[in-house]
């Protein structure tokens, strides 16, 4: 059974803006799913709908088999949320606000557990500091501590590493991996492909209110790994010379450029052999360049394909 099951989720804000246009997403128990998308794609809106912060305009959401509207208490019991914006009571002490979160979720006081969480997030020394005396990175960790305080089975992290330095980012990833080991299902949003690559099991791409694809990380990385070698020639060619037929080449820009597609992550890219063959065929090379599909290119490609289909 999927831990989180989102079907045809729509959200139209009061302004009339349609932020989600029928999003479908399934998240399996115990996996880490990274939701990747540009600004305004609808990531936060989607998370808010699952967590009960905004009312969906259509579609259905189930968490652990519980409908989030009809069976909201059971659904919310399972869910922890680390919001994108840092929102904390400035004068409250760290340990108090974490304890408050636990109580709010109906769980009895458990100081040993709060201590464990604060220590894990390197906040134990700061337990009696007022929140306004913490740095931005520490505040973000307080938000995580609050979300973990009620032992959620599903954790949403909305851009957990925005504005966080490299060291802390790695630390954050370690924490996420620890949680996965404990069996927590994790959904995080990010703008960075490297982040998704570093920790996710699967990657979902969202843009303009639609989930464009959800794929295992390895598959997607392979696609991201596709590169093009563009060989600019001194003189244009009518056709690809016989001697180069064994290589997977296309001729572009009026015969001026030979394009070779390859997998940059493969052990043998075939570039050396190709260049030797090009020289052997007596072609004069003016310039060589490589190109890689960026995340944006993949977005554009996906969106274009979807619009063609429509």
């Amino acid at each position: 059974m999927a831990m989180v099951e989102i079907r045809g989720l729509r959200k139209t804000y009061d302004s009339g803006f349609e932020a989600l246009k029928g999003a479908d997403l399934q998240i399996e128990e115990g996996e880490i799913l990274a939701l990747l998308g540009p600004n305004g794609a609808g990531k936060t809106t989607l998370i808010s709908a699952v967590c009960g912060i905004t009312m969906p305009s259509g579609g259905s959401i189930r968490v652990g088999g519980h409908d989030v509207v009809r069976d909201w208490r059971a659904a919310r019991d399972l869910v922890g949320l680390v919001p994108q914006e840092i929102s904390l009571e400035p004068f409250e002490k760290v340990a108090n606000t974490v304890r408050f979160s636990r109580g709010l979720f109906g769980k009895g006081r458990d100081d040993a557990m709060i201590e464990r969480i604060l220590r894990r997030l390197s906040l134990w020394d700061k337990r009696d500091s007022p929140i306004r005396a913490l740095s931005g990175g520490m505040k973000r960790r307080v938000l995580i501590a609050k979300a973990l305080s009620h032992e959620p089975r599903v954790l949403f992290l909305d851009e957990p590493t925005a504005g966080v330095d490299v060291e802390l980012r790695r630390d954050m990833w370690d924490i996420v991996r620890d949680l996965k080991r404990d069996g927590v299902t994790i959904i995080l949003t990010t703008h960075y492909i490297e982040e998704a690559e570093a920790i996710a099991d699967r990657i979902g791409v969202i843009d303009k209110g639609r989930i464009l694809l959800v794929e295992g990380k390895d598959n997607l990385m392979r696609r991201m790994g596709r590169k093009e070698l563009r060989i600019e020639l001194a003189a244009p060619l009518e056709a690809i010379p016989e001697a180069l037929h064994g290589h997977d080449l296309t001729l572009e820009e009026g015969g001026n450029v030979l394009v070779y597609g390859y997998d940059s992550t493969a052990e043998r890219t075939g570039i050396g052999r190709l260049m030797a063959a090009v020289a052997g065929a007596g072609l004069v090379v003016r310039d060589v360049a490589t190109r890689q599909d960026s995340l944006e290119d993949i977005f554009v490609g996906l969106v274009a394909r979807q619009e063609d289909a429509a």
């Binding site: 804000y13 009061d14 967590c51 009960g52 912060i53 905004t54 009312m55 909201w72 208490r73 059971a74 919310r76 019991d77 869910v79 949320l81 919001p83 914006e85 929102s87 904390l88 009571e89 400035p90 004068f91 409250e92 108090n96 408050f100 979160s101 636990r102 109580g103 709010l104 979720f105 109906g106 769980k107 009895g108 609050k146």
Partner: protein, 253 residues
């Protein structure tokens, strides 16, 4: 019912109060003393008695009501407005708590603070004048009901307000004038007949009258009517809150 959650909200809100306990305690003491200096000494020396009670003692119930109503509204409206303002409301909305539980937590805490301040004022006042309480049970009932009903009203204001100006607007433009015109410092019977009729449209008149009756047995309107008025007001606030709960007005987009 998520009782743990209610207790957590209540405790969290009370902690905010205890952090500023000195202010919470000192400022009503000082302002009460000032009222006695100004009203009791200056005006009291001219009026000396109202319906057989010394003027100083006569204004005590009105003075308590003035503070309790203002405090209940401002505590409750600020209590729920602040999380909206700084964004921590996300946690209330995503927690397994319903609106009723949130209301009980916030309104309960705001009412408790107001009650505490009311009692502090009563204590301070009795240092200045002889306060007799003929019906202590009724006095406490009126006080607690007032704390709760105006905290409910404050909660509604806090949900409605989208900036700090709006938060101050209703208390400043509506509630404070109604209290001052509601016979806090005089008996309605001291007004010209035409104004007496107008005064009867002021809901606070019923409150203060009933409350004063529980002290001295003096009332502008029958006590039963007073009780009915405050019960109706509480019911009105509850109905409005129930409606907010049903529609998610100003809370969930």
């Amino acid at each position: 019912m998520n009782l743990t959650a209610i207790a957590s909200i209540y405790r969290f809100e009370m902690a905010r109060f205890f952090r500023t306990l000195v202010q919470g305690f000192v400022s009503p003491v000082i302002s009460t003393s000032l009222y006695f200096v100004v009203f009791g000494a200056a005006i009291g020396s001219r009026i000396d008695q109202v319906e057989g009670v010394s003027y100083g003692a006569f204004i005590v119930p009105g003075l308590i009501m003035l503070s309790v109503i203002t405090q209940a509204i401002s505590n409750a409206s600020f209590g729920i407005y602040f999380p909206k303002f700084i964004g921590t409301i996300y946690e209330l909305l995503s927690a397994p708590v319903n609106f009723l539980e949130i209301v009980i937590g916030y309104v309960g805490a705001a009412a408790t603070k107001a009650l505490f301040i009311g009692l502090v004022i009563l204590g301070t006042a009795s240092l200045f004048v002889d306060v007799t309480i003929l019906h202590p049970g009724a006095m406490l009932a009126f006080l607690v009901l007032t704390c709760i009903s105006f905290a409910l009203m404050g909660f509604i204001i806090g949900i409605w307000a989208s900036n700090f100006e709006q938060l101050q607007l209703v208390p400043l433009l509506v509630v404070t004038p109604l209290i001052f015109l509601g016979g806090a410092f005089y008996s309605i019977s001291m007004l010209p007949p035409a104004w007496q009729t107008v005064a009867l449209f002021n809901p606070v008149v019923y409150l203060i009258s009933g409350f004063r009756w529980s002290f001295y047995g003096l009332a502008d309107v029958p006590v039963g009517v007073s009780l009915l008025a405050i019960a109706a007001f509480t019911a009105l606030c509850l109905a409005f809150i129930w409606w907010i709960f049903r529609t998610g007005w100003r809370i969930r987009s």
